[in-house]
């Protein structure tokens, strides 16, 4: 009434004029990012992956392509599959994380970055080479063991495959024991 409401509004905008802006100029400044952030590029530990393709099956969009071959003539424990192809088409990925949730061996993690813009669609497919060579900075999303270590992908060291799992997994490359070892002194091993 009497235009007082309008004046009140002017005061509010003036107050905000004096305040610091709440936006930031992005490439130079960055908003804090929580370690759980489901980033775009994936982190994958070949040492931990058995090629079981649970992740591919759980993906609602079916965009993970996995091709494997038995890596030894006689796969002893059924986990000796070498990965030939592990393509994730992030051009269609919605970063729901269901693949990460599905992975029983803690081999696949969400990434922590988000700057994956490319000029061509085919560049958006993350190939197995890239997954192998990329710096391993996994998101702690759905990985309580990482959260328990207070791991923050944006800070500190990249995560090693030994550290990323729920338990030290002895049946993986490259520390995989020989078939002989496994049959003989299995109990003696920790």
């Amino acid at each position: 009434m009497y235009g007082l409401g309008i004046l009140n509004g002017f005061m509010v905008t003036l107050k905000n004029f004096i305040r610091r802006p709440f936006t930031i100029s992005y490439p130079e400044q960055r908003a804090p990012q929580h370690p759980r952030f489901r980033g775009e590029e994936f982190t994958w530990y070949e040492e931990r992956c058995t090629g079981c393709a649970s992740c591919a099956k759980f993906c609602p969009l079916g965009i993970i392509r996995i091709v494997t071959h038995p890596s030894q003539e006689t796969p002893a424990e059924g986990d000796s599959y070498a990965i030939d192809v592990f393509d994730i088409d992030i051009g269609r990925c919605m970063f729901c994380g269901l693949c990460v949730e599905a992975c029983p061996y803690d081999a696949l993690f969400m990434g922590s970055g988000f700057e994956e813009a490319k000029y061509r669609r085919q560049d958006l497919v993350i190939s197995v080479e890239r997954l192998r060579t990329a710096e391993k900075r996994p998101s702690t999303w759905y990985r309580p063991q990482l959260e328990a270590q207070n791991y923050d992908p944006r800070r500190g060291e990249p995560m090693t495959w030994q550290g990323a799992g729920r338990e030290p997994w002895p049946y993986h490359l490259p520390l995989r024991p020989t078939t002989e070892e496994m049959t003989t002194d299995r109990e003696a091993k920790p």
Binding site: G5, I6, G97, P144
Partner: protein, 367 residues
């Protein structure tokens, strides 16, 4: 002698700056007065209901994110409730509390968005919108802590939530709860007493209780007419029976009430979150449900009070891993059906505001 003029038909949308997405209205104007209005939808149809028939129950959660993409949490919640009803799963206490906290935060975020855009449609050059987004951003930060994403959250799972909240979530939530009331006060000071806004919205596009009930309207649009209907009270689900809150009601059912009621509901949501934070106990967050849920043959309908109205999911199971039929009762779509009655006789400028006050989301309307 009445002046004769020739009606002119204008296509408002699908590419119009304030149709909230790809919504089209065919409007017949006499000068600036609306003679007839015909909503046309379907520009954002993605066939979610059909897509769901090809996906497992867990995978469908990602589809529900994309219905009302500014309120993913409540969509998730409504869907997992339907699944739990179908599969006969009881989520653990802590899981339910976390869901309610998340859903109420989402309600605040959604109402912030609705308020901001309504004021933007009123012509306040993006200022209230930016202020609303500032606080929404903080809610999204909280969501990022909870589940790693900001918009398409996929936080809830059949039988609870996928993971407990991290340590730093609780202090951050407390800070937010402490500061948010001041920000709500700021919006009120900025505009709700503003004479221009009051003259623009009071008494405009009135929806009567009868019209609303006949049109099956729900949510803030119905409560603005003064009809007390809030599923959180009427049919309490999850832990809503254990928290105290009021259901704000409007009186006139005009655009102003629809605007005001959302601001009041934000305060009530804050109250609910506060009580939940007090009541929540440590414990498991997810019931022991297999990754591939196989509910018994049967059907279930579950509904919640979404930010925009009654959000319901109807699921039919044939015993397999994917739903046989998945039906969405989306509040935005049903609330839109009364739009024509609300528009006729009002002006072009009112049309935009009325559309904003219903708070539609095209992702949900077209599905």
């Amino acid at each position: 002698m009445p002046m004769r003029s020739e009606p002119v038909t204008v296509n408002v949308g699908p590419q119009h700056p304030s149709t909230h997405g790809v919504f089209r209205l065919r409007i017949t104007f006499d000068g600036e007065v609306i003679l007839d209005a015909e909503p046309v939808f379907g520009y954002l149809h993605r066939g979610s209901e059909k897509l769901a028939e090809e996906r497992t129950y867990t995978q469908v959660i990602t589809l529900t994110d994309r219905l009302d993409y500014v309120a993913s949490m409540t969509n998730n919640q409504a869907y997992v409730l339907a699944c739990e009803k179908l599969a006969g799963v009881q989520p653990p206490e802590r899981g339910m509390y976390l869901r309610v906290i998340a859903a109420e935060l989402q309600r605040i975020a959604s109402h912030l968005m609705a308020t901001g855009f309504l004021l933007n449609d009123l012509g306040a050059f993006a200022t209230p919108l930016m202020y609303c987004f500032r606080e929404r951003e903080r809610i999204l930060d909280l969501f990022e802590m909870l589940c790693g994403a900001r918009i398409t959250l996929s936080y809830m799972r059949v039988g609870g939530v996928f993971q407990d909240a991290p340590e730093e979530f609780w202090p951050a939530l407390r800070i937010f709860l402490g500061e948010m009331p001041h920000y709500i006060d700021e919006y009120e000071r900025l505009l709700s007493e503003n004479e221009i806004l009051v003259t623009r919205t009071k008494g405009v596009s009135v929806l009567t209780v009868d019209q609303a009930l006949n049109g099956s309207v729900t949510g803030p649009v119905l409560r603005a007419t003064g009809f007390p209907w809030d599923l959180r009270k009427v049919d309490p689900y999850e832990v809503y029976g254990r928290v105290k809150f009021d259901v704000p009601l409007g009186r006139a059912g005009d655009n102003y009430d629809r605007f005001k009621i959302r601001i009041d509901e934000m305060r009530q949501s804050l109250r609910i979150v506060e009580q939940c934070v007090e009541q929540i106990e440590p414990g498991p967050v997810r019931a022991d449900v297999p990754a591939l849920v196989r509910p018994p043959v049967g059907d279930a309908y579950s509904r919640i009070e979404g930010p925009k109205g009654e959000l319901g999911f109807y699921l039919v199971s044939d015993g397999s891993v994917a739903p046989y039929r998945f039906k969405i009762r989306s509040p935005s779509f049903i609330n839109l059906t009364v739009l024509r009655d609300m528009l006729i006789g009002w002006k072009l400028a009112d049309m935009i505001v009325t559309l904003g006050s219903i708070d539609i989301n095209m992702g949900e309307v077209d599905r």
